[in-house]
């Protein structure tokens, strides 16, 4: 269901879909990212965990260039995001080229951010029609399929204000998949949801992961990360502290800070349940 063919002829399946190289981001004096590097291969599910303000969201937003890194580069599906090659040099590209490069990623936001003036169906059609220039008929058919995939076929005509948070987020996932991206970026997809709605969204994400959709997920749901992720990155204060398989990072963390964070989170979990 997601595009499996490489977008550029020279990319091979074994090449990383995302290659983040020493990315820095600072807002004035505040350093949000202090040199983060990571690779995501096709079919991998990467979970970014860490305390609030550790740079997980900033990293995701640097990957699709919603934020421009102040240092380092991000390659997605062979493109150096935000740059175009001209006479052997990489030069900052224009907004049109950046928009095209962004189409290899799909993003799911913490606060859903569905287009409020459009129905669920129209939300899922917007990217293919206005972004990719697909015919409305084909886009509509595919949007219906995607809504069925997230279990909301019946809600095609509903406006976001008529949907629950969980339903909105599932529409947002369908929207993120609508442009056939190589990788899905999920920015704390369940943090803004009521506890009883978290499950339905995580179920959809888990299904997608099982189907081989490449994903990078920033999350506070440790159990979910452990179940679904192939690689877990623990971030703190803008740096990656530790990374590896969920078994390594979550079950047997090497770094004291990781262990401390995990104990803290599980303590908070038990307190609320």
């Amino acid at each position: 269901m997601t595009a499996t063919q490489p977008t550029l002829a020279e990319t091979r399946d074994s090449d990383p879909i995302i290659h983040v190289r020493d990315v820095h981001k600072s807002y004035g004096q505040v350093e949000a990212l202090r040199g983060v590097s990571l690779q995501v291969k096709r079919g991998e599910v990467v979970a970014l965990i860490g305390p609030s303000g550790s740079g997980k969201s900033t990293l995701l937003r640097c990957i699709n260039h919603l934020e421009t890194p102040t240092g380092g580069v991000v390659q997605v599906a062979g493109h150096v995001m935000g740059y175009a090659e001209k006479r052997g040099y990489l030069r900052e590209c224009n907004q049109r080229t950046l928009a095209r490069q962004r189409r290899s990623t799909g993003m799911v936001f913490q606060h859903f951010d569905l287009f409020a003036h459009r129905t669920a169906l129209e939300n899922v059609m917007e990217g293919p029609t206005s972004g990719l220039g697909e015919a409305r008929g084909a886009a509509r058919a595919r949007a219906h399929e995607l809504l069925a995939l997230v279990g909301l076929a019946e809600k095609a005509g509903a406006y976001p204000s008529e949907l629950s948070g969980g339903q909105q987020q599932r529409v947002a996932i369908a929207r993120a998949l609508s442009t056939r991206p190589d990788v899905l970026l999920l920015d704390e997809p369940t943090s803004a949801l009521d506890p009883e709605l978290v499950g339905e969204v995580l179920d959809v994400v888990t299904d997608l992961a099982r189907q081989g959709v490449t994903m990078v997920v920033a999350t506070h749901e440790i159990t979910f990360a452990e179940d679904v992720a192939t690689t877990v990155y623990f971030m703190e204060k803008g740096s990656v502290v530790e990374s590896g398989s969920p078994r390594e990072v979550i079950r047997n963390p090497v770094e004291a800070r990781t262990a401390q964070f995990l104990t803290h989170i599980s303590a908070a979990r038990t307190a609320t349940t």
């Binding site: 936001f109 003036h117 809600k155 299904d207």
Partner: protein
């Protein structure tokens, strides 16, 4: 159970002391009657006074209401309103966008334009454009300090109608720019970020996502502007631009039926504004899609709900 238990137990509500029956409100509200009497008296006095005044020629009102000159003036008023609003809207959007960019040059330009044109009364602007030829006999388009490309005679270029259009639209654009800017700012940033993440270019993001949502916020103020613009066109009679008011004035300067003709003019403005108000209401309803809960009357696209439609479908891999 004793009757003198002070605090009734919350589980047994029967133990609350019974209240006397509540009577529906039936008392005559004297203040309302008084209001009715006073206002009715005012209205009747006005209507009777107007109807029985022998010096007020209602026949003339009826005669001139559909006079060809008045209808021609009405047409000019409508054209002036429509064209000046169209120019002001486009210019307003451009100015709003200039005011919102990060580039300081267009921002300073927009801010100066808005300050200047909002400050000068429309009547002054109207006369200014009309008398422009006095200081600027020809208008030349060319390269500064270089060759001239085209030269126009100002008196031929700026007719009464053109001066009226300039006077009405340039000032209005400054007001609209502020409403539009406010409307655009009211759309949450997440909306344009989501559009960008979907691969939309900044232009598409603006026209497909941000602006349609800004319109909902802009519309009430825009409707007000449109209505005052209809009435502002009456000012162009000072330069004789041929609108409703110009025609009425031409007629009453010959027959001295000022009040009947002013009533004719008032009736037409009233008709236009009432129609525009209805149109505005409909347009506002259209753009509030997704913001108001749909009522029983408009279940337009609501889909039937089934018990398990709400759960993610089983995905076979």
């Amino acid at each position: 159970m004793t009757a003198n238990v002070a605090v009734p137990s919350p589980t047994k509500r029967d133990e609350f002391a019974p209240l006397p029956p509540i009577k529906a409100k039936s008392r005559i509200s004297w203040s309302r009657v008084l209001t009715l009497v006073i206002l009715l008296w005012v209205v009747i006095a006005f209507v009777v006074g107007a109807a029985t005044n022998e010096r007020l020629d209602w026949g003339a009102v009826a005669t001139y209401l559909f006079d060809p000159r008045i209808l021609e003036g009405l047409r000019t008023t409508l054209v002036l309103t429509a064209v000046s609003m169209a120019i002001a809207t486009v210019l307003g959007v451009v100015l709003a966008l200039m005011a919102l960019t990060k580039d300081p040059t267009p921002r300073a330009f927009a801010r100066t334009y808005i300050t200047v044109f909002r400050s000068i009364p429309p009547m002054v602007q109207l006369l200014f454009w009309y008398f422009l030829a006095a200081i600027l006999p020809t208008i030349t388009i060319g390269i500064p300090f270089g060759p001239d490309l085209v030269t126009f005679d100002t008196n031929l270029l700026i007719t009464q109608f053109a001066a009226a259009l300039l006077g009405l639209s340039l000032g209005e654009a400054a007001f609209l720019a502020e409403y539009i800017r406010g409307g655009i700012l009211s759309v949450p940033r997440g909306q344009s970020e989501a559009a960008a993440a979907c691969g939309l270019t900044p232009a598409k993001t603006f026209f497909r996502v941000v602006f349609p949502q800004a319109i909902r916020v802009i519309l009430p103020a825009y409707g007000n502007s449109l209505i005052s613009q209809v009435k502002n066109t009456a000012m162009v009679f000072v330069i004789g631009a041929g609108d409703l008011m110009t025609e009425a004035q031409l007629i009453y300067s010959q027959n001295f039926q000022q009040i009947p003709l002013l009533i004719v003019v008032s009736i037409w403005y009233l008709v236009i504004v009432v129609i525009l108000t209805q149109v505005q209401r409909r347009i506002e309803n259209h753009y509030s899609r997704g913001y108001t809960r749909r009522t029983e009357k408009s279940p337009a696209r609501r889909q039937p709900l089934t018990a398990d439609s709400d759960r993610p479908r089983e995905v076979t891999s």
